[in-house]
């Protein structure tokens, strides 16, 4: 009994599409609806304009994009967004600088150790994210572990002020998202055909040249995937800047929190979320094109 091809395809493509529709498109539509509402002292605290297809005309007539106009007019949002993009980009770069050698060492380790090493990278996820970020407070605080060790060793004479600065936020971001960089890079390096590197060596390429012209280009899909997995969540990160950052750290996640919780302005907060998503589509497409190019 031959199953019609089309049915088969539907069977394969259906679940992911359903998943995407249910957990991405539908919530996005709800958030967009709130973003296009007026904030109101009500229960819930907004007055929607959208009341179904039958009232489409009234909806379009009332559509003023007020929330979006507020965001565009206020430099705070642009500043916060740029600052988030900058911090996320820096964190991604640092995660790559730390993660690549780590992944390389893992891929070069004897095969029987590799599974254990991968488990070690994943192990921190067994503890709550929040607790791990809190632990950094204990490490970075003026009388914390790091300062005590450095003082004892005589490296510094005054405690370093790291906690509540941008440096602490970067440390937190790199720490939190490092496994997302290490794992794809490791996967790419592990699949890499070692004989290619040996061939380059036989042909007289010194180690640095082998790394730059053979290993890194071949690992590019993994590096891109890792960069993408670190960058996108880091932009919207809330916990790390809240706990480790100081008054100077301006990140869009925190601004969104203030609008949602302190100002109780659900429409404005939703509009910020929608804009953030749209702005991230750009980098996502960029990464995807790069990845496609790398694969081809």
């Amino acid at each position: 009994m031959a199953v019609p091809r089309r049915l088969l395809r539907l069977f394969v493509v259906g679940p992911p599409l359903l998943w995407l529709g249910l957990f991405f498109l539908l919530p996005f539509a709800i958030v967009l609806r709130i973003a296009l509402s007026d904030s109101a002292p009500a229960l819930p605290p907004y007055a929607p304009h959208w009341e179904g297809w039958s009232r489409l005309g009234a909806f379009l007539a009332a559509l003023d994009g007020e929330t979006f106009a507020v965001i565009l007019a206020d430099s705070l949002y642009l500043d916060a967004l740029l600052s988030s993009l900058r911090l996320a980009a820096l964190a991604t770069l640092l995660a790559l600088l730390v993660g690549f050698p780590l992944a390389y060492a893992m891929a070069s380790a004897p095969r029987r150790w590799q599974t254990a090493l991968v488990v070690l990278v994943i192990l921190p996820f067994w503890t709550s994210f929040l607790i791990r970020v809190y632990a950094w407070i204990a490490i970075l605080r003026p009388e914390g572990v790091l300062n005590l060790v450095l003082l004892r060793l005589g490296v510094i004479s005054e405690p370093l002020r790291i906690l509540n600065t941008e440096a602490a936020v970067l440390i937190g971001l790199v720490y939190s998202y490092l496994p997302f960089m290490v794992l794809p890079v490791y996967a790419a390096l592990e699949r890499l055909d070692r004989s290619l590197i040996e061939a380059a060596a036989d042909l007289g390429a010194p180690p640095l040249r082998r790394l730059l012209t053979v290993t890194i280009p071949l690992a590019k899909p993994g590096i891109l995937a890792g960069a993408f997995l670190v960058f996108v969540p880091a932009v919207g990160e809330f916990v790390v800047p809240d706990l480790l950052g100081g008054p100077d750290t301006l990140m869009i996640g925190k601004v969104l929190w203030t609008d949602f919780f302190s100002n109780r302005d659900w429409p404005l907060a939703s509009a910020v979320a929608v804009l953030l998503l749209l702005l991230l589509v750009g980098p996502i497409l960029f990464f995807q094109r790069l990845a496609k190019g790398a694969a081809a």
Binding site: P44, E143, T258, R264
Partner: protein, 365 residues
């Protein structure tokens, strides 16, 4: 066969319904701050009434508010801070209280109930649980070292005079990340009405706050508890209860950190954590019984002794530990009490403007 299956399904559904209805009957779901009731009180309540208590906790009033605004919280009894009430009452979030079911309200402290009425006119919806002030918490040794051995921390000027605060910068200053706390304090220090809603006044307050910002390490509403207790910071604007909790933790840790709490002489803002029953509460009856239970003078005193806060129950004072009753940070003397103030909430438009000013203060842009 099919009919049989349907029947089983039906029976199962009904059974499940009965089960949940039954569970609701004997269960009281409370939403409150963490460590904010003596566990022995909850046990005694269950022993006496047979009602099981589910005690869920929060660490931020905003979380509670957002849940309440979204509706159907599933809680029968919630403790909210009074300053949120004027915004919530018109939205009919709460059940008006049937005072006939709350015989022990006769023990309440008229002074506190009267001040709470500013937020809940006629005391229709809320019953005070604990109350306190927003003042200054500091590390005695570190502050004296920097401001002089005989320095008295009894004024907002330590915070709002940039020259004085600058001396504390290196040992760490935290202030609350809350407009409704910081703006009234700044206004009061400037000699203006702490409850002012005038834009010009609020701008003056923001300017003052901007001047001290370079010396502030962090704006946060809860981190200072640990930071004070660990000795990481030496000065914080915070809630009396939290500062006293930091003091308690430092004492328990025996880390040599001595924390003190001070109510500035210019006056300070009062806060009132109060019981309300959500309008859609499933077990209102149990909620009433609980409110009445915790307002028996001996039970109110037990809670006060456990969490070391001032109770809104006057009759409880006879059984509150003398150490707590005599602590001016917890039970301020009448002259100080007279200088404490309350404020009314900002309307939506002012709130947004104030929040915007506050973000500018915090980020320095």
């Amino acid at each position: 066969m099919q009919r049989f299956a349907t029947r089983i399904l039906l029976a199962a559904t009904l059974g499940l319904q009965a089960l949940t209805a039954n569970a609701q009957q004997d269960q009281l779901r409370i939403f409150n701050w963490s460590d904010y009731v003596d566990p022995a009180v909850l046990e005694a309540f269950t022993r006496e009434t047979g009602i099981k208590v589910v005690y869920d906790t929060f660490d931020q009033m905003e979380t509670v508010e957002t849940k309440l605004l979204a509706g159907k919280t599933g809680y029968d009894l919630v403790v909210v801070t009074a300053s949120f009430l004027p915004r919530h009452i018109p939205l009919k979030l709460y059940q008006p209280l049937d005072r006939a079911k709350l015989d022990n309200l006769k023990h309440m402290w008229p002074e506190i109930t009267g001040r709470l009425a500013k937020y809940d006119p006629g005391n229709v919806y809320a019953v005070n649980y604990m109350w306190g002030t927003t003042g200054i918490g500091y590390n005695v040794a570190k502050v004296r070292q920097r401001l002089g051995a005989d320095a008295v921390i009894d004024s907002w000027s330590v915070l709002f005079d940039p020259a004085r605060l600058a001396k504390l910068k290196d040992c760490g200053v935290h202030v609350l990340d809350a407009t409704e706390e910081m703006f009234p304090a700044a206004l009061r220090y400037l000699g203006l009405d702490p409850d002012s809603k005038k834009e010009a006044d609020l701008r003056k307050a923001a300017d003052l706050l901007a001047k001290i910002r370079p010396h502030i390490q962090k704006f946060h509403s809860s981190e200072y508890i640990n930071a004070l207790a660990n000795g990481d910071i030496c000065f914080a604007v915070g809630y009396s209860g939290d500062v006293l909790q930091a003091r308690k933790r430092a004492r328990e840790a025996k880390n040599g950190v001595e924390i003190a709490y001070s109510i500035p002489k210019e006056g300070a803002l009062m806060w009132f954590d109060s019981f309300v029953i959500p309008a859609d509460a499933g077990n209102k009856d149990a909620a009433y019984r609980f409110i009445d239970f915790v307002n028996r003078p001996e039970v109110a005193a037990k809670n006060s002794n456990f969490i070391q806060y001032a109770s809104g129950n006057l009759a409880a004072q006879a059984q509150v530990d003398p150490e707590i009753l005599k602590d001016p940070g917890i039970y301020p003397p009448p002259a100080v009490l007279a200088r404490l103030y309350t404020i009314t909430p900002y309307d939506e438009k002012t709130q947004k403007a104030v929040n915007r000013l506050w973000t500018r203060v915090k980020t320095g842009r």
